[in-house]
């Protein structure tokens, strides 16, 4: 809030101001203040002790003599060698060692805590933003009211501004193919988060290969033919688009298969969002042109999601 300098970022001037106003005389405290202000790089730190200089010869040799080559032992011909060992002599690897303690509750380490792929505290904001569709539920759209009033028309219904909403719900499609096996726990956790954000009645369908091959509703324990959701309901895919599948697997769906599926969903005016545990460029251009790809990763921020959605608006 430095008056008169609205654009100034926290910097060295703030450090000087704080040190002066707080009458700080202790160097350690100056460093602490610099750390709080995040200008610690500017604070003088004692230089590391210098190493004693290596004495140089008066005239350095242009090319130091190479060390003598090691004398090689003659190779042993194991085919002809004979092992001589008395019968009682045990080899070193067979020497007795204490065996491992049997697994008990005391010795079992607790499992490592689960680390989700998205930054945990941002996950709900990421999902709320990426799964929302625009709806007329915002504050009154003054521009439209004024426009109507200027034309002398009666305002019979207050137009509202478009805001992102999850009212339409979302259909979740979870890829359980071979490529997604390493991400099975992550997918389960993400599905739980989506259900918390979008509601308990969110349909979650699982598939292998492609949804068009059939989907499974694990909640109802039934296999179904895939049906595109009603118009406007977004579809969230949790998939790797076959990136992690063995390339020699002949059953693996091709990019063209995916494109055909994505086009069939888009025909119903539903937006498509894919959470992919790989970089966007690995999904291929033809797929990326049809679906908003969210890189399922710790580096994904809301700003990046907005950029991805902006790219995806053309396909929504």
């Amino acid at each position: 809030m430095s008056r008169g300098t609205p654009d100034a970022e926290v910097g060295f001037a703030d450090l000087i101001k704080a040190v002066e106003r707080l009458r700080v005389r202790d160097v350690a405290l100056v460093r602490r203040i610099a750390e709080v202000l995040q200008v610690e790089a500017l604070v003088h730190k004692p230089a590391p002790p210098r190493q004693a200089p290596v004495p140089r010869s008066p005239v350095p040799d242009p090319k130091p003599p190479s060390p003598p080559a090691p004398v090689r032992e003659p190779l042993t011909d194991f085919r002809r060698s004979t092992i001589t060992r008395s019968r009682d002599e045990a080899p070193a690897f067979a020497a007795p060692v204490p065996s491992l303690p049997s697994p008990t509750d005391e010795t079992n380490e607790p499992p490592l805590p689960f680390q989700p792929l998205f930054t945990p505290s941002w996950t709900r904001a990421i999902l709320s933003l990426s799964l929302a569709t625009p709806g007329e539920h915002g504050p009154v759209d003054l521009n439209r009211v004024v426009e109507r009033a200027s034309r002398g028309e009666a305002v019979t219904r207050l137009p509202r501004r478009l805001v992102p909403t999850l009212r339409k719900g979302v259909q979740v499609l979870v890829d359980r193919g071979a490529g997604m096996v390493p991400f099975a726990r992550d997918a389960d956790a993400l599905v739980r988060e989506i259900v918390l954000v979008a509601g308990r009645e969110t349909p979650v369908l699982h598939f292998r290969g492609l949804p068009l091959n059939g989907v499974v509703d694990l909640k109802r324990r039934i296999e179904l033919e895939y049906a595109v959701p009603p118009a406007g309901v977004p579809v969230a895919l949790i998939t790797d688009f076959g990136i992690g599948v063995d390339p020699f697997d002949t059953d693996r769906p091709t990019s063209d298969d995916w494109v055909e599926f994505l086009r069939s969903v888009r025909r119903t005016d539903s937006s498509l969002i894919a959470f992919v545990p790989y970089p966007r460029h690995r999904c291929g251009r033809s797929i990326a042109a049809l679906v908003t790809i969210i890189e399922w990763d710790r580096r994904t921020t809301l700003t990046r999601i907005r950029a991805a959605l902006h790219r995806g608006w053309s396909h929504r």
């Binding site: 106003r21 915002g138 504050p139 809301l302 700003t303």
Partner: protein
């Protein structure tokens, strides 16, 4: 850790003792607050540099009550705005009651636009006299929303709570009024509002979304970590008096065990507020932590909220 510097700008008050009767809820009025030397130092740095203080940290660590405690200790005026997803930066300066104006216009009773201007927290903090008359001399006086009416000095503390709930553009749109300490009320009178004394602006975030870099670089930032065992004990004593029967220690032990279990299941860790709730419940119900079914019920209700067990979130 103690620091040696001039605390004439702000000296953290000692927590009051034996506040038993007023301790049973989430106190945001700053009556009870346990200051650490580091927190006191960071507040002094924010005061010295006249920068907004951005307070991060998990829920229940005392982010919101810090501002009220500061205002109370210093005898400064206090305003707060809780941010929501629809909050716009201008709401902190003023709001224009468009709907009220429209309805009055349709009823044939429309007034001058100045009637529909509602000063926001920053306007009140910058210049309460101007806010009271909506920037127009001789206009009908509004009531000052200062939460501590007994404090009427020139300086004010403004709490902008949970800024991460707002649209990402909101923090950046606040930079100019916070930096220049002035703004123009463009909706009606074109009044220029200026702060004679810079207010202390405390902004909290739960880190549910990232804040713009430009905004972060203009704030003094502190992260409130969950308190250590000794601080927990001090907090409990500030709320409930001294620990005569060792209850606080037992609840803290139980909370440690719960924290380990929750961490393994990627659930949010227990907070200070939950620790205080558990102590309050134990005192009222005459229960100590252990295998007693009542304690288990307290544990479930306070630390594992129903419906939360299956929520996989890393704290």
């Amino acid at each position: 850790m103690t620091y040696d510097y001039d605390r004439s700008m702000f000296t953290a008050p000692p927590p009051p003792s034996m506040q038993v009767d007023r301790s049973r809820r989430d106190r945001r009025d700053g009556t009870i607050y346990v200051w650490t030397p580091d927190l006191e130092l960071v507040v002094n740095i924010a005061l010295a540099t006249e920068r907004p203080l951005l307070v991060r940290g998990p829920s229940g660590t005392g982010k919101s009550s810090l501002a009220a405690s500061l205002a109370r200790a210093q005898g400064w005026r206090y305003y707060e705005e809780v941010v929501s997803s629809t909050t716009e930066a201008q709401h902190f300066l003023w709001k224009f009651e468009t709907l009220k104006r429209l309805s009055e216009a349709q009823a044939g009773g429309v007034k001058d636009p100045i009637h529909y201007v509602e000063p926001g927290a920053l306007w009140w903090a910058f210049d309460p006299e101007s806010a009271r008359c909506r920037g127009v001399n001789g206009f009908r006086l509004l009531r000052d929303p200062n939460r501590f009416p007994q404090n009427a000095g020139a300086r004010a503390v403004v709490l902008i709570d949970e800024i991460d709930k707002a649209d990402p553009d909101v923090p950046n749109n606040l930079l100019v009024p916070l930096g220049s300490l002035e703004f123009t009320v463009t909706d009606a009178s074109d009044a220029i509002v200026k702060a004679s004394v810079p207010p202390v602006v405390v902004i909290t975030t739960n880190d549910e979304r990232e804040l713009p870099g430009a905004f972060l670089r203009r704030c003094v930032v502190i992260k409130l970590d969950p308190p250590d065992r000794a601080t927990l004990q001090r907090i409990a004593e500030a709320h409930f008096g001294s620990d005569t029967d060792g209850l606080y220690d037992k609840v803290a032990d139980a909370m440690d065990a719960i924290a380990v279990a929750k961490k393994a299941r990627a659930l949010p860790l227990p907070s200070t507020a939950e620790f205080l709730d558990a102590i309050a419940a134990c005192r009222d119900l005459n229960v100590t932590p252990g295998t007693h079914p009542t304690w288990q019920a307290i544990e479930r209700a306070v630390f594992f909220k129903p419906g939360m067990q299956d929520e996989p979130r890393n704290a």
